[in-house]
Symmetry: C2
Subunit: 275 residues, 2 copies
């Protein structure tokens, strides 16, 4: 099997897209027809996926949206649906796990075996032995939180530790240590474009997952300019709410497609070389 | 309803115990009779709980052990069983969540509403807005990772940030900011007794969840001496594998009781005043 980063490179090229759609289902925002079905979360996701799959490089289901309502089975069905119908598109399970080694092994089993995700997000606070059970899955991607998109992210991540900010220490550990198998990536929020440039300078071609455009207000042009790798790829730019709920009417899927196409075009315009 | 810390104080006194038993089920280590049942994880947990409930202050189910095998329903039944039969004993859901605010709201719903836990563990890397949705549940406990018990914990947590180590910054944020409703606690591993004393000095009477005795090798006497609050309480000393798998034979429950009683006695011997 190809490795995660090779699969990403394939789909970046085939779909000419760095867009990652976050699958964060919020049943109160579903159109009435979907909300009344037997498996509304899966049906909503399926409609979004069918409407957007040729325009994206990845989907990113956010675990809390399933766990809060006991919808693990609909999460599994969603991932299986993508795998079956759109095998080129990568699935990033956004779980942000972080635990001691023996426990992290079980979390890696959950993400990569139970759910069969191509990649998973993890938290670096517990260090190498908490990441290693994920990294041992050589064909999967392990995406470490570095500089998150939310306001409180600065409280620890920007602390000088001791000379450079903590998030840069994380980026350096990722580049020099955690990426020994070539399957480590980082999360850097689009809400911090300067930090995105700093991280890019530290990690070479390592792909970055970039949330924070759309509802959180990050600027697409700056994210692309500061975050792309030398060949104009290297990014998964993630948007969730602005795509999923572009319309809450019966046209939600076509509205999601239009929003995805717009985001892809905005991104491609700022890539080097421009598309 | 009483608040989490008041409920802890009640059970510390009633059971004369600072022991928290980690419910980390490993089906390959179950005795044959349990392993062959229809809901083996729940049955194993129930036997452990019935054998130990009067000797403990809390149970701490570790989420990965359920999530890796799709046993969410057995996790829910376990928590419900404790609630029904041993209402004084507190339930700490060990999930180590950490995500942006809108997502953290869903994780708080999962822990406190779906599973009905008394407290949950969370990761501080994303800062205040990632913790606030948990802290808003004023009657529940929010237990923030500070200095974890595992080897890799030092990589970020001991970085000077910039003058004092990161874990002390976390302890200070917890004491000065996150504890405004009196429901914030910290995780500090027994494998780092000097750091336990440092954190105790920073946080006053705030209770600390202390993993790392038993299989991870932390010393009980030092953990108690360095970690207890002025009145000889303030700790949940957690042990999982050394209790759950004290015997893998048919006598596993009585062996777990004996191991729990021994740990309680070791702890109480070093409390001030000694019990």
């Amino acid at each position: 099997m190809k490795r995660f980063i090779e699969r990403l490179q394939d789909v970046w090229r085939q779909h000419d897209s760095l867009v990652c759609v976050g699958l964060d289902p919020e049943p109160d925002r579903f159109p009435a027809l979907i909300a009344s079905g037997a498996a509304p979360i899966f049906e909503f996701n399926r409609a979004i996926i069918d409407a957007t799959a040729d325009l994206v490089c990845a989907y990113k289901p956010q675990f809390a949206h399933y766990a809060a309502v006991g919808a693990e089975e609909q999460l599994a069905r969603t991932i299986e649906y993508i795998r079956q119908h759109y095998p080129a598109v990568q699935v990033v399970l956004d779980v942000k796990r972080g635990d001691i080694g023996s426990t992290a092994e079980r979390y890696a089993t959950e993400a990569f075996v139970r759910y069969g995700a191509d990649a998973a997000t993890v938290n670096p606070y517990l260090g190498t032995d908490s990441l290693e059970p994920f990294l041992r899955y050589e064909d999967r991607g392990v995406i470490v939180l570095c500089r998150t998109s939310n306001p409180g992210g600065r409280e620890l991540q920007e602390l000088k530790a001791p000379d450079v900010p903590l998030y840069q220490q994380v980026a350096t550990l990722a580049a020099q240590r955690w990426n020994s198998r070539g399957n480590c990536l980082l999360v850097v929020g689009a809400t911090h474009p300067a930090e995105l440039a700093q991280v890019r300078a530290l990690v070479g071609a390592m792909p970055l997952l970039v949330p924070g455009v759309g509802a959180q207000g990050g600027d697409v042009a700056q994210a692309v300019k500061n975050g792309q790798s030398a060949d104009g790829t290297g990014l998964l730019i993630s948007s969730s709410r602005a795509i999923l709920y572009a319309s809450q009417g019966a046209d939600f899927a076509s509205a999601a497609r239009a929003a995805t196409a717009t985001l892809r075009a905005q991104i491609n315009q700022h890539r080097t070389p421009a598309r």
